[in-house]
């Protein structure tokens, strides 16, 4: 049974890309999408997905804050940050906030899946 994923990114393009990678793998299904932190938290609470991919820089509530909220709601939540180059400090902050791992843009399908596979089982 595929793992249920919530994809969070303010750019639809990025969400589409991630969705394709996930769906094509056959191991994941995208159960929800969110374009900012507040939506993400609400969606998480409603959908209780197995995994969240979380963009860091977003309007309203950023990914770090959203991660903090989600982990507060479910300490076992599995959140993987989507980062760009040069955001190391933010990624480290996210991990401190409870994120399990991170992927770096530009995404390669192989690497994304490797990270997600490891996060979903670890």
């Amino acid at each position: 049974m595929p793992h249920r994923v919530l994809v969070v990114d303010d750019a639809m393009f990025m969400r589409a890309m991630i969705r394709d990678i996930l769906v094509n793998s056959g191991a994941y299904e995208v159960v929800g999408e969110a374009a900012n932190g507040e939506e993400a938290v609400a969606q998480y609470k409603a959908l209780k997905p197995d995994l969240v991919t979380m963009d860091i820089v977003m309007p309203q509530m950023d990914g770090i804050e959203a991660t903090r909220e989600i982990v507060k709601f479910n300490s076992k939540a599995r959140v993987v940050m989507c980062s760009a180059l040069g955001q190391e400090a933010l990624v480290i902050e996210s991990i401190a906030a409870g994120a399990k791992d991170f992927i770096v843009k530009p995404f390669s399908a192989e690497k994304v899946l490797k990270v997600l596979d490891s996060a979903v089982t670890g």
């Binding site: 180059l85 190391e88 990624v91 480290i92």
Partner: protein
């Protein structure tokens, strides 16, 4: 049961104990109470091992020795006969190991062992309640109060910070956020083992872009699984789990953990050659990179180089052995000759803890044995003659090993009759080496030097009369073969001293690499340099015909050696001199590096300020200067 596979183990462990016994049993005087337990334990271990291997003579003799030591352990002071008999037993035990090594059995030494055992029993005498019959039977001997193994495990667990396992991780160079990756790993590890400590810490890893880390952990059952799950993470180039071997559950009766193993010198040489090749290859690789690549690979390059340097050092240090092995052998020769020639003699050894390259030690064995034999044979007078000369009946020999600056000095001194220079003078004329009027002009040093001339020294009549000479040419050529020289001092009636001066050829020397132009690299041992002054800040001043470097209140004379124009971008190396420091002006200072200095062969070695050449890590050759000689040469 096939015991042959244990033979190497038996030999290496037993040798350790025999060496220990020899080191710790004094030739005379009092055995320190603290040492007795250790001695007893050694004899006991030897006995147990020999018995397990079926070496009966060895095991009987160690049992006899153990019984004597047990007697000391119970507070009976060691008599001089007992000490002698114990040392003799140790000699035979040593010989038994040679026999075992040669023909896998100790049968060859059985007669000597019986003899030595008889001596032991005789020397033991009849201590009330401690007759030979009361000696502990094999396997029933009282155990030393505290077996070593136990001690170790106690200290390790009493320490709250006992990290016994390490996970080393390396992040793949393609990973854009290595510190974040390290943090993910740190979190995973912490989830499994909250006590873990990461080195370097995350802050530093982030700041410096470090991609390697070590996690220190207490030992636990889940570590293998943890390491496996870490390997599954992305961007991970390497995950290595290291666990300290748990302390042995069995605090064996008299048995000890195998702590050393024998490795052939050839294997070590091979290892060293590979380490050198790797280091060289890394430097070549680095040289082929562009500046940008070098910057982005800096951390990898540096950490690889640090690893290789450590490997290289470790291999070199494995080749180092303590001088004790050789010193013990020489002491044995003295004891042996003292008995055979009827000339009681005592040898004292100092500095035997000095560690030298194994190959060097092997080269020195023959010449030093020669010198000891010479001293006992010819130098030391008969007891009667000594008494007539007002000397103590027992001759004194001393073997002294020490380091002076970069050189190793080994001297053997005796209090024998010394060398009669006139006899050498006469013989020189007789042999047609010098005309009488020429010979009359030769000073003492020159005459002594004649003893090392091959055609001269082998003349038996000379050596017999002069008291010295047999094989001195051999000694000299052996020392010279490792780039050293032989110094002789002898005073008639008082004794002689022979000093082997060995340059640091086979050890690592830290040198500062510098140059006067782009093409050629020079070096000076760092131990000879007190300070480096940049000429941009420290001015040169003239006074009369001399230039001085002004460093605070100090005016340091400039060495006008090979004067080359040195601009303000250059530096002054302050060389340590016995009569005051001097500075050498150089155009550029490159780096400090640990090198093996290879002495030049003749005739270059005659130019005394040159110590030799060295291969730098970059593959270049550096010419190594002797700072001490430079400073002296310039002396006004």
């Amino acid at each position: 049961m096939d015991l042959s596979k244990y033979l190497d183990l038996y030999l290496s462990e037993s040798r350790e104990h025999v060496s220990g016994l020899r080191r710790e049993i004094p030739a005379e005087g009092v055995v320190p109470p603290g040492a007795v337990n250790e001695l007893f334990r050694r004899a006991h271990s030897l006995k147990g091992m020999a018995a397990s291997m079926g070496f009966e003579a060895t095991s009987r003799l160690s049992h006899g020795l153990e019984s004597l030591l047990n007697q000391w352990r119970q507070g009976h002071p060691a008599t001089s006969e007992q000490l002698q008999s114990a040392l003799r037993a140790v000699d035979v035990l040593d010989a038994s190991l040679d026999a075992v090594q040669r023909d896998s059995g100790d049968g060859a030494i059985a007669p000597q062992a019986e003899e030595a055992l008889a001596f032991l029993l005789e020397a033991r005498g009849d201590v009330p309640g401690e007759g030979p019959g009361a000696a502990p039977a094999p396997g029933m001997a009282p155990e030393p109060a505290k077996p070593r193994n136990e001690d170790r495990s106690v200290t390790a667990t009493a320490d709250g910070q006992a990290f016994r396992a390490r996970i080393k991780v390396a992040i793949d160079p393609s990973c854009a956020l290595p510190a974040a990756r390290l943090m993910v790993m740190a979190e995973r590890i912490r989830a499994a083992e909250p006590m873990s400590v990461m080195e370097p810490d995350l802050e530093r890893a982030k700041r410096e872009g470090i991609r390697l880390a070590v996690f220190h952990l207490p030992q636990g059952p889940g570590l293998k699984d943890l390491a496996r799950s870490l390997r599954e993470l992305p961007d991970v180039a390497l995950v290595e789990l290291e666990q300290d071997t748990p302390p042995p559950a069995r605090a064996a009766a008299g048995g000890t953990l195998m702590q050393t193993m024998r490795v052939s010198a050839e294997d070590l040489d091979g290892l060293r050659a590979h380490a050198t090749d790797l280091l060289y290859g890394l430097n070549q690789y680095e040289a082929s990179l562009s500046a940008g690549e070098r910057r982005s690979h800096r951390f990898w390059l540096e950490s690889e180089r640090a690893h290789l340097n450590r490997l290289f050092d470790q291999v070199l240090s494995m080749r180092l052995v303590s001088f004790e092995v050789l010193a013990e052998r020489l002491a044995r020769t003295v004891r042996d000759l003292a008995g055979r020639l009827g000339k009681p003699a005592l040898i004292t050894v100092s500095g035997a803890e000095e560690r030298v390259d194994r190959g060097l030690l092997e080269t020195l064995l023959d010449p030093l044995t020669h010198l000891v034999r010479n001293a006992m044979d010819h130098g030391v007078e008969s007891q009667e003659e000594r008494r007539r000369a007002g000397k103590p009946g027992e001759a004194r020999l001393s073997l002294d090993i020490r380091r002076e600056s970069e050189a190793l000095l080994i001297s053997l001194e005796d209090d024998g009759r010394g060398i009669d220079a006139e006899v050498i003078r006469q013989a020189a004329v007789e042999r047609g080496l010098y005309a009488p009027h020429e010979a009359a002009l030769l000073d003492r040093a020159k005459l002594l030097d004649l003893l090392t001339v091959p055609a001269f020294s082998t003349r038996k009549e000379v050596s017999d009369v002069s008291g010295r000479g047999v094989g001195l040419d051999v000694v000299r050529s052996a020392v010279e073969s490792v780039g050293g020289h032989l110094e002789m001092n002898s005073e008639e009636g008082k004794g002689s001293r022979f000093t082997l001066v060995i340059p640091s050829a086979t050890t690592l020397t830290r040198v500062l690499v510098f140059g006067w132009d782009e093409d050629v690299r020079y070096g000076i041992p760092a131990s000879q340099i007190r300070h480096i002054y940049p000429l941009s800040t420290f001015p040169l001043v003239w006074s009369g015909d001399h230039r001085y470097l002004q460093a605070g209140d100090d005016f340091l004379p400039v060495l006008e050696w090979r004067p080359a124009p040195v601009g303000r971008s250059g530096a002054a190396l302050r060389l340590i001199g016995p009569g005051g420091d001097r500075v050498l002006l150089v155009s550029s200072v490159y780096q400090g590096e640990r090198v093996v200095i290879m002495p030049w062969g003749p005739p270059l070695e005659m130019i005394s300020e040159w110590m030799g050449g060295a291969l730098l890590a970059t593959g270049e050759i550096a010419y190594i200067l002797d700072g001490r000689v430079l400073v002296m040469q310039e002396g006004d």
